[in-house]
């Protein structure tokens, strides 16, 4: 038994004896206190591994408080069924929405700045139906709701961002892991482009620095990387099932750089090969050195 386990056992035993019935909650809180950086959950159902990944970080109550207005930001960018792995798995999204309500969230809003017709993207991705079914407030992007935000970043000095995203009490980023023509992979930081207004194509000229600037401004409460299915080629829009690989994995973490660095390994790449991961690491946004992270792997 190492020092950490000794302390944990001692504290849990003591508190359990003192306050019977609260042991489960306290164990979860202690696990969160252990500062697990990433949880990698593997299993058969998207809902099961999503919940397990969040529980591994101390449970949803470690992130969401009663009365919070929460924004859940999946990738709903493309007119694709979930099987194509171009959009976030709808079951992962609905599980997060439901957990937020369980934790007492007042509202859980779900939206994304779709690349093509949002009506088709929201419907085909299955996210609209799945999130609505558990009480999620699903809406299309309203162009009037962008507000110019001062960023003072390396690449971006200011940019119009979606008001509901920047004004939410909590922001949960739920990207899908997939290839990307310009940035090699699109993971968590790249998914933040979905709250950007104006001509997003312009940031592609300085994409790595721009993504870090946006990630510095937003700083999600929690990142849930959907790797239930990953798109291994012809991303980001895909469209061919032969490019899709079923991994049945969900990764959860607080550190945007760490989540993306781990996400790269799902494609047999290193985080250091992704420009925005390196830029984020250098900017102090997070760490890309996986050897320095406490990564918990869970099989459900």
């Amino acid at each position: 038994m190492d020092r950490r386990d000794f302390l944990k056992t001692t504290i849990v035993t003591g508190i359990t004896l003192a306050i019977p019935g609260n042991a489960s909650f306290l164990i979860k809180a202690l696990e969160a206190a252990e500062k697990t950086d990433l949880v990698v959950a593997h299993g058969l159902t998207p809902a099961g591994i999503t919940k397990a990944a969040i529980d591994g970080l101390g449970g949803i109550r470690a992130f969401i408080s009663r009365g919070d207005i929460v924004v859940v930001k999946p990738n709903i960018g493309w007119d694709r069924l979930p099987e194509y792995a171009a959009t976030t798995n709808p079951e992962v999204v609905s599980t997060v929405v439901a957990l937020c309500y369980e934790a007492g969230a007042k509202q859980v809003k779900v939206f994304d700045h779709s690349v093509v017709d949002p009506r088709r993207c929201y419907k085909q991705s299955g996210i609209s139906v799945a999130a609505t079914a558990v009480g999620g407030i699903v809406s299309y992007i309203d162009d009037r709701k962008f507000r110019d935000v001062k960023l003072s970043g390396v690449a971006l000095k200011s940019w119009p961002l979606y008001t509901e995203a920047i004004e939410a009490d909590k922001f949960i980023n739920i990207p899908i892991a997939k290839t990307h023509g310009l940035s090699t992979l699109t993971l968590g930081m790249k998914n933040l482009m979905g709250i950007m207004g104006s001509s997003r194509g312009r940031i592609h000229q300085r994409i790595d620095g721009s993504l870090v600037d946006i990630a510095m401004a937003i700083k999600p409460t929690l990142i849930i990387l959907d790797a239930v299915r990953i798109l291994t080629a012809n991303g980001p829009q895909g469209g061919d099932l032969s490019d899709v690989k079923q991994l049945n994995i969900v990764v959860a973490g607080r550190d945007q750089v760490a989540v993306d660095a781990f996400g790269a390994t799902l494609f047999a790449l290193k985080g250091a090969t992704l420009g925005y991961v390196v830029a984020g690491h250098k900017a102090g946004l997070g760490t890309m050195d996986l050897s320095k992270l406490r990564i918990k792997k869970i099989n459900v």
Partner: protein, 311 residues
Amino acid sequence: MHNNSHIRPSFLFIFLIIIMALSNPAHAAGLSIKDILPGKGFAENWVIEEKVKLYDKDTLFDHINGEAELYFPYGFDAMATASYVNKQNPDLSIVADVYRMASVLDAFGIYSNYRKTNNLWVAIGAEGFVSSSQLMFYQDRYFVRLQISGATSLEKDIFLACARAISGNLPAGSGPPKELEILKIPALVQKSERYLAQSLLGYVFFRKGIIADAAAQDEKMQIFVIHEDTQAAARKTFDQYHSYLQAEGQGIQMTGNPACMQVIAVDPLYGGVLVEQSGRYIIGAVRIKNTSIAKQLIDELHRRISADAGR
């Protein structure tokens, strides 16, 4: 009284040319990309949803954000897209995208980014393939991409009907780009050629070129050809690669004369390489294990270049 006997045939000729052009819009000057997509539908149960949308270099991001950059090095000029909805099942549609590139080589280049050697090939345009959810082809300087929406599979015949309706509105073209001919040696793995419009092998000094898989005597490697405008330009490119190998590579053996230089080395990214500058061309083989086999392939490429130059 004027003699109209010479005028009438001229008028008739011009009239016939106009009629021919109008009857086949593909041959009309100034073909609008908007008119390439069927305006109402392509079959009885497949009708256009809304109208054809157009994108250019400044707006392509709005349609394929994240993939647009792939198209720009190939001289992307304009794009038209439309959705064709199934009347019996409105959730089912085909999204048809037509991209106009700079040349037939560029259209092939963007097409070759998507094709796989095990695709199911279909006789459409210069070349095309179909899967359960997509059909893609290129014709003249146009690349066409059809994608099912609302399902994971669609009958091949429906894709083909849509593709043929589009193909009929495109210039006929003259088949695959002639630049592919040089790589057609017996060891070439069929349909593996890719044209990269920038940074072949990831090296900026290899500005653009065609690369393909090759297999000979149980040995697999990749062969490539770069066509420069002049012999001096080709030599400069070769020298840049040689300099790179001197800095980063191993086991460098250089032979040849000013018109034809050859280097054998171990490239840090691609292992064994054999690269030759021959006139305006750079030809090479990478990932080689057996140099003598690679030499045979390079010799064959060399002969094809010589034959091409002799035409």
